[in-house]
């Protein structure tokens, strides 16, 4: 996965720089020619800085009275280089406060960048919030006309789209009622219907799928998929990795205002989930006391080697590749010990699978009077991510654990499957 992309595509004619503060009317004539294969959204070294004042009066002071700095700079976004071609969909992920919404605001032209540039070619349908600008006293129909006008449509254009909007929002019986009488679900349906029916070239949505019932979410996703099918561009901000994986080819992971990762949606979301589990595990570790290690260990693992298919030591495997562990234990009493191997997902210490040699009725090979050796081969059906083999040596009865050695490894590959491991399966019909 490439961390921070540098876009090298050739520049497209007639960009619309928001950065210069020019008023570009949404849907204005000069920006409707979309380059077919070139970029549609491009940001270079994009940053946004907010000035924080302790009190409102400080702002006045700084402006008129003294030359002292009263504000603190807060960089909500820094050094973002992003390039999207038409037909591409990009998910923006990250923890709360990582700058996702700021990025969308800059791209949709609502806010002005503090550094760098944003260029957008095409009509932007920004859906930063559902039902923006609806007036509660007006009817749904009146609000459709107003909302569409705000997005740059003329009356006649809206007229033609109204039936489609009403049908999508499923509001036939209520469309001539004031919006204040709508349930929140009806309100959102109408907002989503208006913003997506006006056929923007670039659709920017911020967490709109987080609200609404499942049926509505499915409907929205179908519409977004249809939208992508038309070769349009989607910028999609979500906390749902499932939605990002389903709708997006690319993903951008923001962390404290900086690009942490940029690449295929599958690998970036997996890496982000890994990171999240790591955070959780850290919290757990802080709350749980660590078990005290037993000081007197009669047996110990002298050597543990992790081998790939070519019999070379490695710690990187492809999904489905066979891994081999070789363990050598020193046993003072000379009795054949029990070995155990655990497959653990590294960040949250989730035990995927564990097996003891005595369960499979396998006895280790005796090397000399006090040394035993055993091999363990496994087909790694684990989904891409970071894992640990935890190897143990136990007493002959398999009840007392003497020593533990951990071997970290990672599984590479691109997969949109969910869960921890790939189970043998087939589809039937």
């Amino acid at each position: 996965m490439s961390v921070v992309s540098r876009c090298t595509e050739s520049p497209s004619p007639q960009p619309t720089p928001h950065a210069q503060g020019r008023l570009s009317p949404p849907g204005g004539e000069e920006v409707t020619n979309i380059p077919s294969s070139d970029w549609v959204v491009r940001t270079q070294n994009l940053g946004k800085c907010y000035k924080l004042y302790a009190r409102p009066l400080d702002r006045l002071k700084e402006l008129f009275v003294s030359s002292r700095r009263y504000h603190q700079d807060f960089w909500a976004l820094q050094e973002v280089d992003l390039c999207l071609e038409s037909g591409q969909s990009c998910g923006i992920i990250g923890c709360n406060g990582s700058g996702k919404s700021t990025l969308l605001k800059l791209i949709s032209g609502v806010a002005r960048p503090s550094s760098g540039t944003v260029e957008v070619a095409g009509r932007v349908g920004a859906l930063l919030e559902l039902g923006t600008g609806f007036h509660p006293e007006y009817t749904g129909r009146e609000n459709i006309y107003f909302s569409a006008a705000m997005l740059g449509l003329e009356g006649a254009e809206t007229e033609a789209l109204v039936p489609e909007i009403i049908a999508f929002a499923e509001l036939d019986d209520f469309i001539d009622q004031p919006v204040k009488t709508y349930s929140s679900g009806m309100y959102m349906r109408l907002g989503f219907a208006v913003a997506t029916t006006i056929r923007p070239d670039i659709l920017i949505t911020d967490e709109v799928l987080a609200v609404g019932d499942e049926a509505f979410q499915k409907k929205c996703i179908r519409r977004m998929e249809a939208f992508l099918g038309q070769g349009k561009t989607l910028l999609f901000c979500s906390h749902s990795m499932y939605h990002v994986q389903k709708l997006c080819q690319k993903a951008l992971w923001l962390d404290h205002g900086r690009v942490r990762a940029w690449g295929g949606a599958a690998e970036v979301t997996l890496a982000f989930e890994d990171y999240l589990r790591g955070l959780e595990a850290q919290e757990e570790q802080q709350t749980e006391p660590q078990p005290v290690a037993d000081a007197s260990l009669p047996s110990r693992l002298r050597q543990v080697r992790l081998l790939g298919a070519d019999n070379q030591e490695t710690d990187v495997f492809d999904l489905g590749e066979t891994a081999r562990l070789e363990m050598i234990a020193e046993v003072p009493d000379g009795q054949p010990p029990v070995f155990a191997v655990g497959h653990v997902r590294r960040n949250d210490k989730f035990g995927v699978y564990g097996i003891f040699s005595d369960m499979d009725r396998v006895e280790p090979q005796r090397v000399d009077a006090h040394t035993f050796r055993i091999g363990y081969e496994v087909c790694l059906s684990l989904l891409p991510g970071n894992y640990t083999f935890r190897t143990h040596v136990l007493d002959p009865s398999g009840l007392r654990m003497f020593d533990t050695v951990e071997k970290d490894f990672s599984v590479r590959g691109e997969s949109r499957e969910l869960g921890v491991c790939r189970l043998p399966h087939r589809w039937t019909r």
Partner: protein
């Protein structure tokens, strides 16, 4: 901005319609309220000055009520336009923060809506006045476009400045309310300009609303317009403030989303 006004004609018309509608939404008397407020003010001033203070005729034999009417209605349109503009951006924070659109239309639509609403009342009363006096201003009435245009330019310029100011400092809203009350009494609406003492005359010369109010009044009451230095000053002020307001708004626009 003029380009924005023409490309967004439809949006502007929609916004003005919505602004007017929203103002009276849910009231049972609706648009009548826009008449009631000025009538109450006009009646009040007439009672205090004509009945209690026994002010007789003012300036060339006109009754006090018709004298005040000529200045009061245009002032109310101007004041309402400006005071409503102050919150045009802050009250629409959710739209300004979430949607990329020509936000100056928020101010322009508020100003136009105020002038339209007050304009209807003004025309009705003008008609009543003419029927009552039996005189018709006729061709001179066309001259009303001059003070009206000036007041509009002034209001849009003022409105933009106030709307921007209020985004960064919410004190502007309070300041404007007090300021406009002061401005009202410093404009010769309840008294003729010739009663102003020499000693504070300079204070009034700077006020562009003096020329505008005078223009309205002389067109309605005497059917002519004095194209003097005062009017020229009014034109300069209106155009200058309009240009400056537009310029300031353009500079501030990009920061709205950050400060709201």
């Amino acid at each position: 901005m003029l380009a924005a006004l023409t490309t967004h004609r439809y949006l502007l018309a929609t916004m003005v319609r919505r602004e007017i509608g929203a103002r009276f939404a849910g009231t049972s008397l609706g648009g009548l309220w826009s008449l009631i407020h000025p009538i109450v003010l006009l009646g009040l001033y007439t009672m205090v000055f004509s009945v209690i203070y026994r002010v007789g005729e003012v300036e060339g034999g006109h009754g006090f009520a018709e004298f005040v009417f000529c200045g009061l209605w245009p002032w109310l349109a101007f004041q309402e336009a400006c005071l409503r503009s102050v919150t045009a951006i802050t009250n629409n924070a959710n739209v300004v923060k979430k949607l990329q659109f020509p936000s100056e239309l928020l101010v322009v639509s508020v100003v136009l809506a105020s002038f339209l609403v007050q304009g209807v009342g003004f025309l009705l009363f003008l008609l009543g006045l003419m029927l009552w006096k039996g005189t018709f201003i006729g061709g001179a009435g066309l001259l009303l476009w001059i003070p009206l245009g000036l007041a509009l330019l002034l209001a849009i310029g003022m409105g933009m400045l106030l709307a921007c100011g209020n985004v960064f400092f919410r004190d502007v809203e309070q300041l404007a309310t007090a300021g406009f009350t002061l401005w009202f009494f410093l404009t010769p609406i309840l008294y003729p300009a010739n009663l102003i003492p020499e000693s504070i005359g300079a204070l009034f010369i700077l006020n562009p609303m003096v020329a505008i109010t005078d223009a309205y009044r002389s067109i309605i009451l005497s059917g002519n317009l004095n194209l003097g230095g005062a009017l020229a000053y009014g034109v300069c002020c209106a155009v200058g403030l309009f240009w400056f307001g537009r310029y300031a708004f353009e500079r501030c626009r990009g920061f709205f989303a950050d400060y709201l």
